[in-house]
């Protein structure tokens, strides 16, 4: 990990009418980092993530992702990121190979790259047997791993994961995090939202949103020290209850 900032926001705000879903958030993510984006339901995580991935235009503030402006260069951002949402969003009626070909293809991978990376990925996942089956026939546990692999197929600078392990069993979750670490080791920045506080511990740094604002920001170790607790669960509860906390 180095100190180069790959995501940087200053007072980034999204207002729907008079309601500020995201209220002047300022934070940065460094290159190669696993950055946890935490918060209760409705705290504004998804809205913030949609602005960073170019799905939603911000109202005010400033932000750059991979060096591109979120107000004006959304399509350039999209070339440099991968995205995986909680909802399984590959095509069920296409096979694994066809999904790889489609998503790789629209990111502009060449035929050779598609073959090479597709084969490597299928081998890594141990899915050679089912690579020709339609995804709806593939067991649920595999799907999140497949979705993650497809989202990183074009080797994006940053991959955004929106509650990627929602509804997944502990073993699969663990395997999933191994994949996240592997991606981070290869230099991909990982931006991940989660509800699981044990997962928060796996992150290099986290930010915690409450009512559209960032109420906690730092490494898990720092946060635990600041709140004088042993685990992230309690940090979460304390922040969510609104205990005073000075932003660093």
């Amino acid at each position: 990990m180095n100190s180069e900032k790959i995501i940087e926001t200053t007072k980034l705000t999204k207002a729907f009418g008079s309601f500020k879903a995201v209220n002047e958030i300022t934070f940065d993510v460094k290159k190669g980092e696993i950055f946890g984006f935490l918060g209760a339901n409705g705290a504004g995580k998804s809205t913030a993530m949609k602005m960073l991935t170019g799905l939603l235009s911000p109202t005010s503030g400033e932000a750059t992702v991979a060096g591109f402006d979120v107000f004006t260069q959304q399509e350039k951002i999209k070339k440099n990121i991968g995205y995986m949402s909680q909802k399984f969003s590959l095509y069920d009626d296409l096979s694994l190979l066809e999904n790889i070909k489609f998503f790789g293809g629209i990111y502009g991978l060449s035929k050779e790259q598609l073959n090479e990376r597709g084969t490597a990925m299928i081998e890594r996942l141990g899915l050679a047997d089912v690579s020709h089956k339609l995804l709806k026939e593939v067991p649920l546990g595999w799907k999140q791993k497949i979705a993650f692999s497809v989202a990183t197929l074009h080797q994006p600078k940053i991959v955004f994961l929106d509650e990627p392990t929602g509804g997944v069993d502990p073993i699969t979750r663990r395997q999933f995090w191994e994949m996240i670490y592997e991606a981070a080791d290869n230099g991909t920045t990982v931006f991940v939202t989660t509800h699981y506080m044990d997962e928060a511990e796996y992150c290099n740094r986290i930010s915690m949103m409450v009512d559209g604002r960032i109420a906690g920001y730092g490494s898990p170790k720092e946060l635990k020290a600041d709140f004088k607790t042993e685990n992230m669960d309690e940090v979460f509860v304390k922040i969510a209850r609104g205990e005073n906390y000075k932003l660093q």
């Binding site: 949609k50 991935t53 170019g54 799905l55 939603l56 235009s57 959304q74 399509e75 999209k78 070339k79 990121i81 995205y83 949402s85 909802k87 399984f88 969003s89 590959l90 095509y91 069920d92 009626d93 296409l94 066809e98 070909k101 489609f102 998503f103 293809g105 629209i106 990111y107 502009g108 339609l134 955004f160």
Partner: protein, 374 residues
């Protein structure tokens, strides 16, 4: 545009993998043409006829016999004097009351124009119009036969005489209403494929959530839209070809004009209906909504297309609305090319209008489709 190739591949795979699709492409057109052409017929038989013969001549008698002999009319009343109240019409026992005036025979022999008047029960305007035109065609036939047979009796200078009967004109000399319906049904078919399938296809991606995944990719709007629309464009052209083949082989619909005009027109026209489908998909969030909106447009377009009710029979304000209806232009082209043998110069206005329509509707849809929301 290399992404386009991948979208097209994906769409075609998904379309043909969908078990519901093949019946839609193959069975629906055949069923619709076969069933509706017979069911939605304007053919009117057993028209209850009343004749008021005030002439009592040999000639009036032979005219009446002609009606009796035709398979379309049943002579139910025969009177010698006019009933000003039109009781039998009011009762509904009679569809048409035909009055043969005094001096019918005398005037014909003297070459003076005569006017037969017909009172038509017009509650069902369609049947009324058709019944009247049948009645008229019998008079026409009667006149021609009379001229042929009595050429010596008539004034040598004028080898014909006039029998007036104020009527609408129908382009369907053989009175086969399948010829009239089949071209309209073809338009309906092609349009349904375009509007429903395109709108539902895109909305389906919204429902499953894959559209979000696509929106975070660098796919351009143009690639996405062309990738979505082109497969249905191909299916639409295929269905049209299938439909025209059935029209020719099964219904022997005449194809008087150049068929390539119909295909050329369909190429443009499909972009209009696909554009409408695309536009609907930007308005709807669920497939149910998109179905509902598509049906709303479909019903209006069909009823105001001139397919069932001739546009000339509509009130003026409704006629003006039909100018915005893409169905209208395709039905006009279909009927005039197939039945009337129209050529390029007859239908070029329709090409022009539908071309502009396509540009406008697709611009609207492209603008309405957003990868990034406000």
């Amino acid at each position: 545009m290399s992404a386009l190739k991948f979208i097209l591949q994906k769409e075609f795979k998904q379309i043909f993998r969908d078990k519901g699709m093949l019946p839609i492409i193959f069975v629906m057109p055949i069923m619709q043409l076969m069933v509706l052409s017979f069911a939605a017929t304007f053919d009117v038989k057993n028209i209850q006829l009343e004749v008021v013969d005030r002439d009592h001549s040999q000639l009036s008698q032979s005219l009446i016999e002609k009606y009796v002999a035709s398979e379309y009319f049943n002579l139910v009343h025969f009177k010698h004097a006019t009933d000003p109240k039109g009781t039998s019409l009011q009762e509904g026992s009679v569809n048409i009351s035909l009055e043969i005036p005094y001096d019918f025979e005398k005037n014909i022999m003297q070459n003076t124009p005569v006017t037969l008047s017909a009172k038509v029960n017009a509650i069902d305007g369609m049947t009324a119009g058709i019944s009247a035109s049948y009645a008229q065609s019998i008079i026409q036939e009667f006149r021609e036969e009379f001229v042929k047979e009595n050429i010596g009796l008539l004034d040598q200078g004028k080898k014909s005489f006039a029998i007036n009967f104020s009527m609408q004109n129908w382009y369907n000399a053989t009175l086969d209403y399948k010829f009239y319906m089949v071209p309209g049904l073809l338009v309906l078919l092609v349009s349904m494929i375009g509007m429903f399938l395109t709108s539902m296809n895109i909305v389906k991606e919204k429902e499953i959530g894959t559209i979000e995944q696509l929106n975070v990719t660098p796919i351009t709007k143009g690639e996405f839209i062309i990738g979505k629309v082109l497969p249905f464009w191909c299916i639409g052209m295929f269905v049209l070809s299938l439909g025209l083949t059935i029209a020719k082989l099964v219904f022997s619909v005449p194809m008087q004009g150049p068929i390539y005009l119909i295909f050329l027109f369909a190429m443009l026209y499909l972009f209009v209906v696909l554009g409408i489908g695309l536009f609907i998909s930007t308005l709807a969030d669920t497939q149910q909504q998109s179905m509902f909106i598509a049906w709303f447009f479909m019903v209006i377009f069909v009823l105001l297309s001139g397919m069932f009710t001739p546009i000339e029979n509509m009130p003026v304000w409704a006629q003006k609305i039909t100018l915005l209806n893409p169905f209208r232009y395709f039905i006009e082209v279909m009927r005039s090319v197939l039945l009337k043998g129209a050529t390029w110069s007859d239908v070029k206005m329709n090409f022009f209008i539908i071309g502009i329509y396509g540009v406008v509707i697709n611009t609207m849809s492209v603008l309405a489709y957003r990868k990034t929301n406000g």
